[in-house]
């Protein structure tokens, strides 16, 4: 019984933490650091107008 309790409580909390982490954007992009993904997307958006015309 004690072993089941000691397994279930921390695992349930870890499962909840994993669930929350999958929904947090700051897991991959820290707000205190420049957002490289956003910069890259901005550059890609600008590229069609500024880039060389395709044949």
């Amino acid at each position: 019984m004690i072993d089941i309790l000691t397994v279930i409580v921390p695992h349930a909390l870890m499962a909840l933490a994993i669930w929350r982490l999958t929904h947090r954007n700051d897991l991959d992009d820290d707000p205190a650091l420049p957002n490289r993904r956003a910069q890259l997307m901005q550059r890609q958006r600008r590229a069609p107008s500024g880039g060389k015309p395709r044949a």
Binding site: T6, V7, H11
Partner: protein, 455 residues
């Protein structure tokens, strides 16, 4: 039922990693600490889950992670040198088969410690790593704490989740690691964002800390008691209300001491009287043997070199006959192939002077780096970075407890301790990136007082 639950949990963890690759890193840390394949007897035992998580973590990082701004820290370089050096000593080990077996898990611990800082790119990742480490140790200590409260435990008698006396499930090792976890659990309760500070979070964190404190009582490992004392002194340094802290410790001590099992107080009493204790006597004899061994083997004997030792010493026996009459007798003890029971002597015997020097350098640099971070942001931290000094403090405390506890337990290559090293490197690297990317000075600028306006 437990088998199904743990199998589903591990599978779910790995599936979550497909959505967020960093979760593979957390999955590996969890598997390395809890060893769910040991807890169950079913599917998990037949699959190398640790290796799968490790490959997934490294593969996902190589394929999908942002590697911009990554710099290899001097400590990662020291880890690399230690890894290569240990690989070389394994090739020439005195016990090749046993050495190869230990090398099989040591290399993974060292590589993961080098790899972890590369993945800790955000504050949330650092926090989540701390959380998984604390909850994973919680899987072991919560049950251990409840059993200690119920039965009082006993030396070699406390049955943890896994009863095979290896890894973190060994009494002295879990006593040391549990005390290392206390400052990290308190940091999470105060600065966590996954589970935000609140009465429920504080209640659970204090419960974990209490369970951790019970581990030295339950396992009756003297090392654990020393670690508790060291942590108590270290926390005195970082607490603001020192008088209140000392008062609370004194009151808690007065309440706890009468409740401690008699077997515990008797065993702790042998710390002062080591000559009559066989365990302590063997340690001293093995340490003396190791010093002599290193004179003829300055590059060590490879992993598990202790198997060739043969020690003998006199154990003092006191027979009290009453009326202040005590007969002192000595008994000759002879033992062979006894383990080092000290991380320092483990390094010296197995890896020689160069290995010991590298290991000491790794940890001394860690304590120093955390001290630099701790002081840098202690006063007027930039907005949103109030958590840095307390985390550096907690990691430093955990490492010092490990270094003191490691003097009496052979945990020089314990993977959990290398996760602490990886976390420290990750925190230092993260703060470095933030400082480099800041447009404005990364400090609160004190404005000079404005002159009073002219009337």
């Amino acid at each position: 039922m437990l088998n199904l639950f743990l199998t589903a949990f591990v599978a779910g963890f790995l599936v979550a990693g497909l959505r967020r690759p960093f979760l593979f890193v957390l999955a590996y840390a969890y598997i390395d600490i809890v060893a769910p394949q040991k807890v169950t007897w079913g599917f998990l035992q037949s699959v190398p889950v640790s290796l799968i998580a490790f490959i997934c973590a490294v593969g996902a990082w190589l394929a999908a992670e942002d590697k911009n701004g990554i710099r290899v820290s001097p400590r990662q370089f020291v880890l690399l040198v230690l890894l290569v050096y240990c690989g070389l000593t394994t090739r020439t080990a005195d016990f090749p088969v046993e050495a190869a077996e230990k090398w099989g898990w040591v290399w993974k611990a060292l590589v993961f410690a080098m790899f972890l800082p590369l993945t800790l790119r955000t504050r949330l990742r650092i926090e989540s790593m701390v959380l998984v480490m604390v909850l994973s140790v919680g899987v072991i200590v919560i049950g251990g704490g409840i059993k200690t409260l119920a039965s009082g435990g006993g030396y070699g008698e406390l049955k943890l989740l896994v009863n095979d006396n290896t890894g973190l499930y060994e009494g002295s090792i879990i006593s040391t690691v549990a005390i290392c976890v206390i400052p990290l659990a308190l940091w999470l309760a105060k600065y966590g964002t996954i589970f935000k500070p609140g009465w429920m979070v504080w209640l659970f964190a204090l419960g974990i800390c209490f369970a951790c404190l019970l581990m030295p009582v339950g396992t009756q490992a003297r090392t654990g008691l020393i670690c508790v004392a060291v942590l108590g002194v270290l926390m005195l340094r970082s607490t603001k209300r020192r008088g209140l802290y000392i008062g609370l410790i004194a009151v808690a001590g007065m309440i706890a001491v009468p409740l401690l099992p008699q077997s515990f107080t008797e065993r702790m009493g042998t710390i002062r009287n080591h000559q009559s204790d066989q365990s302590a006597g063997t340690r001293l004899a093995v340490w003396q043997w190791t010093i002599e061994f290193a004179k003829t083997h300055p590059f060590g004997g490879g992993f598990d070199a202790f198997r060739q030792n043969s020690v003998s010493y006199d154990k003092i026996l006191a027979d009290t006959a009453g009326d202040n009459n005590t007969a002192i007798k000595t008994e000759r003890i002879e033992e062979q192939g006894r383990a080092y029971h000290s991380s320092y002597f483990e390094m010296l015997g197995e890896q020689g002077y160069p290995g010991l020097a590298l290991w000491l350098l790794l940890h001394i640099m860690g304590v120093a780096h955390m001290e630099v971070l701790r002081r840098r942001y202690a006063r007027n931290p930039p907005q949103g970075f109030e958590w840095v000094t307390p985390l550096a403090d907690a990691l430093q405390q955990a490492q010092i407890v490990y270094l003191v506890g490691g003097a009496f337990v052979g945990i020089a290559f314990q993977p959990f301790c290398y996760m602490l090293v990886g976390l420290q490197c990750g925190l230092t690297a993260y703060i470095g990136r933030v400082r480099r990317s800041a447009d404005v000075p990364f400090r609160t600028v004190h404005k000079a007082p404005q002159p009073a306006p002219a009337p």
